[in-house]
Symmetry: C2
Subunit: 221 residues, 2 copies
Amino acid sequence: MSHSSAPRKTPGRPARISREDIIGTARRIVTEEGADRLTMRRLAQEVGSTPMALYHHVRGKEELLLLLLNDYAERTLHRPALPDQPRERVVVAAAAIHDVLAACPWIVEVLTADDLMSTTALWFVEQIVDNLVECGLTPERAVHGYRAIWYYTAGEILVRATAARRRATDDQPTYRERVFADLDPGELPRLARLSGRWAELTAEDTYRDGLRALVDGLLAS
Amino acid sequence: MSHSSAPRKTPGRPARISREDIIGTARRIVTEEGADRLTMRRLAQEVGSTPMALYHHVRGKEELLLLLLNDYAERTLHRPALPDQPRERVVVAAAAIHDVLAACPWIVEVLTADDLMSTTALWFVEQIVDNLVECGLTPERAVHGYRAIWYYTAGEILVRATAARRRATDDQPTYRERVFADLDPGELPRLARLSGRWAELTAEDTYRDGLRALVDGLLAS
DNA sequence: TTTGGTTTCTATACATGTAAGAAAAATAGC
DNA sequence: GCTATTTTTCTTACATGTATAGAAACCAAA
């Protein structure tokens, strides 16, 4: 579509599609029709190529989704105004990442990435680590603290997203509901007493509370 | 294999395989040859049936893995001796769950379960919630606290397991390594200074430290 | 022009999960 | 014994990710 004249310098057959084409088209499919519709065949057809040609620009579907996630983060993750207190900065930076990712429903299959590693996202990591140091942690403990925050954040998003997906798919009552329906109050009194409200309680969004608790605890030690 | 005489009471074609057969055989395949080898076709062949017959005893592969996980938890998760302090009880109960799950390499695909819900595992949940209340939290906050612990735990296992899998699969340097290799010290000074030690630092097992911090923070608020 | 090398693209094939529906094997009522 | 009903099993077919092998399109040298 693009380059026309400009004498080529590399040998070999010239590429008809680029990684950017692929990612762009993939993004369009995903935003317009949802992540289910993104198949390698469909994507190939849409960029005017064959499925296996994609594999010369992208290692496989997993990498494609990872690239898509980075692309998404790059364009929707914006640096927020940070508060004065270092501790609050940690909270704000983590919550900003969380909110953007949580709003991205197709994320589940990729989010087990080791870290989020787009250039934009790294700024947030920097803020978290730096402000943890600012609060008195050694750099080593600050990194560990960041990792704990990332585990908590990724876990929250993954668990909630999967639960939501299951609820949407299954017509039947959940396994959880069945188990909670007949708890033995003798064996598990606390859960039995809470069983009626469990669904409601776990549905509440308490990400920030947990995050604050975690940051507090990291700084207290 | 089992029932012989005993006049049947239900109408319909009698079942030749049972859910227990399926789970047992699946467990054998997974423990002997790894989770990759567990396919519906292979499993069907092994129980002496056809793939689609399995679907009358199990909703699909995802449910099968969930059942397998519960089965695994049921037989390897044993109630530990709990310390005296309620706060330490929370830590010990959570760490017990964590350690059993983390030792289970095929877990990744299922762990996004809403909670771990085998009967045995619920005892641990009970301990966590109960002792959080014992420490002064309201029952509501105790449930939220348990959820935060679960998010952190599931996230840790998932992220670490996936990272390990990626390292095992990929021969090429990780995306992370490439990004960390050329960080701009002007933009991200803290990360740039730590970049050489990042892999080493994130490889350390700091689950318990983070857990303690989280529990401390939950109780401090 | 021909030959060789390099890169990209295409065709074909396979393994996998599972949807749809027909067939089989039992019971219940007559 | 015969038919209707119910439950389980089997057959077939499809969508998907991707491995493999080779064809196609470009450059550079002979």
